[in-house]
Amino acid sequence: MTEVQYVAPGTLDEAVRVFASASGAARILAGGTDLLVQMRSGAVRPGLIVDIKKIAEMTAIEQGADGSFRIGAAVSGAALREHAKLKAIWPGVVEAANLIGSTQIQGRASAGGNLCNASPAGDSVPAMVAAAATVTVQGPNGRRQLAVEKVPAGPGRTTLAKGEIVVSFTLPPRPKGSGDAYLRMIPRTEMDIAVVGCGVSLTLDKGTCTAARVGLGAVAPTVLLVEDAAKALIGSKLDAAALDKAANACRAACRPIDDKRGTIAYRTQIAGVLLKRAATIAAERAGRS
């Protein structure tokens, strides 16, 4: 019978040390809403579990002097929702994280776990990608920063090296006239997994789109940053032609699979529909900011 060892270090350095020096399979535990399910089904059998929720830096939300936000990787969805300022400035990121699971799941599930679980359908990831979030990673060789879209490597796989832990997300300072939004297509109304997810973040200046980023989920082995869609939006007044062009760029970027959750044709078509709807909501929010 396999024994599971559980540790809950109080500092990041200690967490990295035990995590990196584990001899067998080790896993970080944030909310555990993926990890515990996977352990129960037998999909993963870690010998060591490192709980990161006792580390202050990983459970805090801070706003920098420049207006940027630093969100600890283990902050729960419920805590994100409670942060009024974050919610006002990054409604898309917060709504994406809040779509995860139910009230019970929200009390636990973190954006860090969502990212590191590396499901192409993770809901918070496309919104983070659209928001141009960077992640801070700490490992045996110190700290480094990378763009959020560089973390997933494929379904269930990340680019993190052995012993590396995602510490936090940083959302950049927000120019005036900015807004973001995340939409997902699920057959049910909740408790479901995204068939397609789309995050859009943009900045408007007198009705003209001056900056935009688009993240697409569940249409490829990893969440995608769709630069062509952003290009189609930038410089436009988000008129029908620009939205159509951006929607088609999203469709062109799709490399989905046919499976029980949706067909290739369906996912591809929906990616464009969600782009238009999310861009419209983001623009409306930008107008109010």
Partner: protein, 757 residues
Amino acid sequence: MNAPVSERSDNKWIGQRTVRPDGAEKVTGRAAYAADTTMPGMIWGKVLRSPHPHARIRSIDTSKAEKLPGVKAVMTAKDIVDFPLDKSVMLGIQDMRWMCRNVMAREKALFAGHPVAAVAAMSEKIADEACKLIEVDYEVLPWVIDVEEAMKPDAPILHDFIKFEGKPSNIAGKIEHKLGDVEKGFAEADVVIERSFRTKPVHQGYIEPHACLVSVSDGKATVWSSSQGQFMVRAMSAYLTGLPQNDIRAIPAEIGGGFGGKTIIYLEPLALILSRKTGRPVKMAMTREEVFRASGPTSGSYSKVKIGAKKDGTIVAAQGTFCLQAGALPGSPIRGAAGCAFAPYNIANVHSVGFDVVSNRSKVAAYRAPGAPLGCYATECVLDEVAEALKMDPLKLRLKNAAREGTKAAHGPVFPRIGFVETIEGAVNHDHYKTPLPKATNGRLYGRGIASGFWFNAGGESSAQVNINEDGTVVVITGHPDIGGSRASTANIVAELLGIDYRKVSVLIGDTSVIGFSNLTGGSRVTYASAMVATQSTEQVITTLKERAAKIWKIDPDAVVWENGEARPAGDNAGKFEPLTLAQLAAQATATGGPIGAGKQLNTTGAEGGFATHVCDVEVDPELGIARVIRYTSLQDVGRAIHPGYVEGQMQGGASQGIGWALSEEYIYDKNGKLDNAGFLDYRMPVTSDLPMLDAVIIEVPNPKHPQGVRGVGEVPIVPPLAAVSNAVYNALGTRFYSLPMSPPKVLEALQAKSKA
């Protein structure tokens, strides 16, 4: 909504929403379900299941598993009583030839998930590991799952012993109902519409997985399990293990849903055999994945229905063929499909045929009105087209042809007083039907559909015992697991008859050793049948109470009446003695003749059919292909609502399951014939937020053959929704779907094809 008749009558308890006797225990987590029972020395059983949808079992080597430390016993089909294929042994509708092969594969594994061996070990984990050490030598065979594929002449044959029209076939049975002459009827019709329909298998989706604890000691077995019938558990376990029934005591646990899926057993005989081998109590519990792979579901189907009507809307002929997927062994609910499809209507010429088709998936289990939703789906969708062709309101078309008292149904009976017309009239006059649909806005489209439906309902064997306690309170014991509120209903009835507060009546479910034989909780029969035995037992108790009062007063028992919970002198003696309450009589029972109580056992008859009409509004997002129900009203003749809260619960539950069947639920198989969505994430049962408040309108046309006027309630509500939702989606989109579920990719594809055309 009007208050139901029973609430307006003089009744004190019948028709009241009394507090549920099982409610507090359930919401506080104290109710003991099947997996909650443990015993000292208990060990765990686990099942090894076939990975192949179809394979001959050449040999099974259990030696490595037996040697694993902690393993106490291993069993295979050899340990189960074999019922030879050439002789049918029936228990209700289940044939033991099939059951002995269903609980464990014998000659062949017939579906991916079919049990091939079981292990008992000190822990679940060891049992799991031991299962992996069992070596099964399979000869993998070609397989077929889909019902139409299975009927093709070149389809892989599951069972050599099944022949249809002289040839080996997967068609295991046929049912046929005929009335009049359909050819003649169609010749008279002005409009004839014929369509084909396809549905996917759907699971009952009960939240509690199958589980049991079995302890065999001194050759006698005690079984704790969750089922829809402890007597069924006892009888089937007896058949499959060879124990006589008096050596098995089956104790029903609180049940976390069944919907028909717990009218057969899976684990109990295995646990019994493992306990017999080890001398230890053995517990077994399925995972959700096992529930999906190896229990239930209902049939997938292929149907063809043709209906002919005259210009004035008179339906002159109806013809239907219903092919139902039975799964690994025969027994699909063709009787429900072929029998219920046309039963709501007075049609002179009917020809209805059902085919029972085996294929390589888990054996079908009953699911709420088994088969009827499939028949109704086809008929009610075709009727929608007939109404459209005739430019007639769909409810008017149904009203014109509705079965009434005296109508002869194709499946046999001549209907007595029934309340079908009232359900249609109720729909016509309901605020829902009179309220216009929302206007298309924001690209959303709206549609309304209606459908009616019928279910046979059932009587059958029931037993009850009513005992007056020394303090004047009452204990009633019945023999049916309560899955829909039968304890509350029985308490209401007994309290009403005795004239006492319902809180003085406790209703318990007896195990097989304390109450007489009672048939399954199924067929919408329990409140119907247990009300009859409880009524007759209570009446006998009242006779005794009057005799005791007469004895005390030294007058003739005929001169005593029972009123308002007390014996009163009547006739010449009226007013001569102080009335005696139930409590007073109970206190004097020993002196007046001993304990007071009575039991009754009946094979009940007279359960007349039930009818409903449903109205459904949908909103469709055509860009995403999502259809959602935004308003739903079901109107049903329930005879009499003994406990309206539970009746509404049944109506709402059936509607929500039917909506799931129509829009999102389906078994999806991968290319290897293995179920690909064996969990609630990808088996998309609606969640609460998917549905609006489901309006339930209770209509009460009392059943003249029942003491309280009861008709079965629990199954009719799942019959109309498949068609009601389909008709609503058509109304919204102008595109008809002839297959379920109407999932987003399917809807979007159809809309795109239409816009291209």
